[in-house]
């Protein structure tokens, strides 16, 4: 299983940028919002927690269809399915690789971008915490969605359509945690729920993902 994780990471790096690209997209969304909304700092600071979370979600989303699509097209997925590797493990590793290449860099960098949207200083630590707890769930849920849509041609949009509703709870709790942090309230509840989603997702979704993949390979 580690072999698969390492291969995926290596592929991501080789393909140019690997870790940087998810981050770059995140940065760009964060930069674009003020262009749309206007330069008013009070307004920006009010919507900052939400925008950061929506941006992470979109950054995760955008790289989802690559999780299985390439392996499907070149036949590796079929070969992996007939290999001794437990397919659930493979799904888990795929999610992990996705998180390491998108969620993790984004978590590390988000606080550094806080000032672009005038995020309240108190909220920085909660932004970091909520992303750390929440982005793995985004990757795992997304991997499930990617498994569902793998052989479909217009995968990209359909995938988003399927995955975004599944992302809603993560988004709500994540943004809520940061917002409460910014307002000086106690965000522990939201953070706990976020952690719950991540733990639950990682416990159950690898099995669901392996199942849908097997069906799609038939």
């Amino acid at each position: 299983m580690i072999a698969l994780l390492l291969r995926d990471l290596r592929l991501a790096v080789r393909a140019g940028g690997g870790f940087g690209l998810g981050l770059a997209f995140f940065l760009i969304v964060v930069v674009l919002v003020p262009f749309g909304v206007g330069p008013d700092t009070a307004l920006l600071s009010a919507i900052a927690p939400g925008i950061f979370w929506v941006a992470s979600l979109l950054a995760a989303l955008l790289s989802l269809d690559r999780i299985f699509a390439l392996d499907f097209e070149d036949g590796s997925l079929t070969l992996l399915a007939t290999s001794p590797l437990p397919f659930e493990g493979a799904a888990l590793m795929k999610a992990l690789a996705h998180w390491i290449t998108t969620g993790l860099p984004l978590t590390v960098a988000a606080p550094a971008l806080g000032f672009l949207l005038n995020l309240a200083p108190e909220a920085y630590v909660y932004l970091l915490l909520s992303l750390l707890l929440g982005t793995p769930a985004l990757s795992m849920i997304g991997t499930f969605g990617a498994g569902l849509t793998v052989g479909l041609r217009r995968g990209g949009l359909l995938l988003s359509l399927l995955v975004l509703p599944l992302y809603v709870p993560t988004l709500i709790f994540g943004a809520e945690a940061v917002r409460r942090g910014a307002d000086g309230l106690d965000p522990t509840g939201a953070l706990m729920l976020l952690a719950g989603i991540t733990v639950g997702g990682f416990a159950l979704l690898p099995f669901a993902t392996a199942a849908v993949l097997r069906i799609n390979l038939r």
Partner: protein, 203 residues
Amino acid sequence: MLQVRNLSCARGGVPVLNAVSFDVAAGQALILRGPNGVGKTTLLRTLAGVQPALDGTVDFPEEQGAYASHADGIKAALSVTENLVFWAEVYGGDLPDDILEKFDLTDLRDRPGGTLSAGQKRRLGLARLGVIGRKVLFLDEPTVSLDRFSVKLFADWLRGHLAAGGIAVIATHIDLGLDAPELDLTPYRAAPDAHGGSDEAFL
């Protein structure tokens, strides 16, 4: 020892083959023949467990099957060696020392998979079979794009594999120069009214 009994299989919900039965003893190969679209790929996929059978049984030593499809599963960004090492690790083995020579890949060992020619890619895809150490091979047109020399190379390797007690079921349109029985699938073609199609219940 591979035992296939009364196997029926479907593709895209339509029954394709009906009641195929055969045995392949250890050390033996079986060549599948038949015109395009008769169901060779479908049969191999069913044997390998990629898709479920409509009916019948497939029996071979657990955890000993391996499938090689039209697509080779080669990663363009990984080098030839890295591609092979990955599969060796997935199957929990090591890279045999002579595998690169056996498939004439020594000169290409550090080339990225994406820069290989069609035949070189195929050789790499076949080399995977030598790496994973499985006994029962299901091969779908393994020699497509190979030149004559490479076909011979592969046939030699296959003979070695069989001599060591391996089994191979091979779909192919050309002559591999193997001394193996052939099975023409044409007689097993499912009749248009065959049972078991996914929507039969609605008729």
